[in-house]
Amino acid sequence: MSLFSSFAVSAGGMDVERTRVEIIANNLANAQTTRTERGGPFRRQLLRTMARPAGYADGAFLGGGVEIKGIDEDPSPPRLIYDPSHPEANARGYVSLPNVNLVNEMVNLLVAGRVYEANITAFQEAKGMALKALEMGR
């Protein structure tokens, strides 16, 4: 595989992180949503990704990259807050709030941003290498 295939790998990485940011933004926006269409509080979402198979053979690197497999729901239970005055409070006065931890989400957001930037850098390096190779002609 030539250097060109690494463009696809880096672009795929950018796609993944961008989607991840969208999901985190959605989690943050719905951090206080107590009622959804299906009933119950909003459930935190995570991105499921899988690495594409890659290998090194005959002096060439083949394959590689990352794929989005789907969006999963965080199975951890909702947070229970005691607030009997809340319209969504249950019989014992507890409200179910989304299982979204703001600090976690912010950290994940920052990490996703850094990985996104790293993919951009990898992309630019590949392009730089190819352009430099073109300059080998006198």
Binding site: S6, V9, G13, A54, G64, V111, N119, M129, E135, M136
Partner: protein, 111 residues
């Protein structure tokens, strides 16, 4: 005609493959359970049984070296930069080599 760039050719191929490996590591930085890898030269001492010389011959082979997961982004960035720098240097050198050969061949005269 042997231009004396055989080593450069192999090295450039190696550096391209290494870049792809690093790019793959970076793309999968957020994939849970992903084990990053690096590409390294391995010194191979091989003895050639059929030749007359008893000296073992040395070759440089590239091999995949698995790294401890998860992906360390800073390390990957550092290796990325080092890798392309080596690529730039080798392409420069190859270009100069050809210029020199051209000079020698033409002795300052145009063909």
């Amino acid at each position: 005609m042997d231009c004396g760039i055989g080593v450069i050719k192999e090295a450039l191929d190696f550096l391209v493959a290494r870049h792809q490996m690093i790019a793959n590591n970076i793309a999968n930085a957020g994939t849970p359970g992903f084990r990053p890898s690096d590409l390294v030269f391995r010194d191979v001492l091989s003895s050639r049984l059929k030749t007359s010389s008893p000296e073992p011959s040395r070759r440089l082979e590239a091999e995949v070296r698995p790294l401890k997961g998860p992906v360390q982004l800073d390390e990957e960035m550092a290796r990325l930069a080092e890798n392309s720098l080596r690529y730039y240097a080798l392409t420069q050198f190859a270009g100069r080599k050809f210029s020199q050969l051209s000079l020698i061949i033409n002795e300052g005269r145009k063909v």
